[in-house]
């Protein structure tokens, strides 16, 4: 499988300046991160607040450029200006606040915004809008105003907007942070469908553990570095370490972990209720 995203020793410093422009302090948000993501993978990046996960995400879309190191998206160096639009087209980005990323006044117009920018012919724009809205099950809302949709529906429209640009990879920067539980479920279901059905590489950045159990691989970030890496099973079997990184594990995993400590014969890293029931009986 081809690599869709590669970072080599990526480091990013936020530089604070005082009124005269003198450097007051440097915060290293991302510190020497090297990772690669293969085409078609579902990657989750976990981390507590301030762990640098959003800063990392902004590098994939060439919104930020590395202070040191390089980021390659689909084989192209993001810090090279002539690659800028290619990179942004191949790696779409969905942000946290659903209200602040919808540009159109009607759902279908918003989904068409990306293809319009790419200079896609009118007829094809309509085809892309239709297929993207159907992929996130929002086709029947195409004539509605975004203001009348719920948060989960708005995020699905945002995902469709990115999808219409035919990206190879979608980066979602805490897409569910501002949603209620049912909205969160809706959005996660849509994201999983993208990965399963459309075979699009998904990079999901989140701090909700439950959302990461379907991922192929999880990266856990702490203080700008990658602290843990592996499949959900491998990562969640290290409950104590996750706790030290100020992260919770899913409730079922925690229960299984405690039961095992109490002496029950259970395997490590149980992720779903069904799995636990199966092992208990």
């Amino acid at each position: 499988m081809k690599d869709i995203l590669t970072t080599e020793n990526l480091t990013f410093d936020y530089i604070r300046r005082d009124d005269e422009g003198n450097v007051e302090g440097i915060t290293t948000a991302v510190d020497n991160v090297s990772l690669d993501v293969k085409e078609g993978e579902f990657i989750a990046i976990l981390g507590a607040n301030g762990s640098g996960k959003s800063t990392l995400a902004k590098h994939i879309n060439a919104i930020l450029y590395p202070t040191e190191g390089t980021v390659y998206v689909d084989g192209k160096d993001t810090s090279d200006d002539k690659n800028l639009w290619d990179v942004r087209q191949s790696a779409g980005m969905v942000f946290q606040n659903p209200d602040n990323q919808i540009i159109g006044q009607i759902v279908e117009e918003d989904v068409g915004f990306g293809p319009e920018n790419l200079g896609v012919p009118t007829k094809e724009i309509w085809e892309r809008v239709e297929e993207s809205l159907k992929a996130v099950h929002m086709y029947e809302y195409r004539k509605k105003s975004p203001n009348r949709l719920s948060g989960g529906q708005k995020q699905r429209v945002s995902i469709a907007g990115v999808l219409a640009m035919h990206p190879k990879c979608i980066v979602l920067d805490e897409p569910t942070a501002m949603l209620d539980p049912s909205g969160r479920k809706e959005v996660i279901r849509a994201i999983r469908a993208l990965n399963d059905v459309e075979k699009i590489t998904v990079i999901l950045i989140t701090h909700y553990m439950e959302e990461t159990i379907y991922a192929d691989r999880i990266f856990v970030m702490d203080k700008g570095r990658i602290a843990m890496e592996g499949t959900p099973k491998e990562v969640f079997s290290k409950v104590e370490k996750l706790k030290r990184l100020r992260l919770d594990v899913p409730q079922v995993t925690l229960l299984a972990h405690e039961l095992k400590k109490a002496g029950l014969p259970l395997s490590d890293g149980i992720l779903t209720t069904e799995e636990l029931i199966c092992q208990l009986s």
Partner: protein, 268 residues
Amino acid sequence: MIRDITLGQYYSTESVIHRLDPRVKLVGTLCYIISLFLIKNPIGYLVAAIFLAMVIWLSRVPVKFMIRGLKAIVLLLLIAGFFNLFFTPGEPLWSWKALTITKEGIVTATTMVLRLMFLIMGSSVMTLTTTPNNLTDGMEKGLGFLKLIKVPVHEIAMMMSIALRFIPILLEETDKIMKAQIARGADFESKNLIKKAKALVPLLVPLFVSAFRRANDLALAMEARCYRGGEGRTKMKPLIYKKRDAAGYLVILLYLVVCIYIGRVIKL
């Protein structure tokens, strides 16, 4: 509730006028306003009135919506009428103390009031039959020639449509901030003007801060979706002239010719 707000004053129905290209309606409105300043005699006003009545009838928008637009300028109409009626020098017809009505006064007052009324009604036909979206599209394309003299037409149209999109969101936010401030004892109900103005400060400051934050987020989201200005952009809903638009232009031209003819040839 605030989410249901209709922007502008679009009246949704099916009619020939609704289906016209927004550019035709823009040009038409402009021509109509110009014509109001060209005509100088009663027959001219009759023609303008008939033309307006015809368009309103075709648009199938209830007349009360047009009248509603006039309510906003009632005071202006009264003042303009009053001053022209009583303070135009000329042949006196009636006088009482300092107030004198002259023949010329009656004429100028009537033309002034009629002109203003037609002007408002004429432009509300456009806003009532065109969605704000369509209108910005029409402006972008119809005023495209201004690009030659470095007017950023695309950017202005984009700004207008983003503003339209965010008005309901910001209204809702205002409501939220207001409630939060009321919960902390702010007084928005005071009749005292100074107090009222002062109460606006804790409302406007957070609103502005949040508007800037939103603008920042939106700019980022637009860039992430490859927005790079109007260059090389295609349209999902391009404006294409149809036969009825040509007919529309023809009617406008005809009307203008008639107006000029009446103004020049027939003298009363």
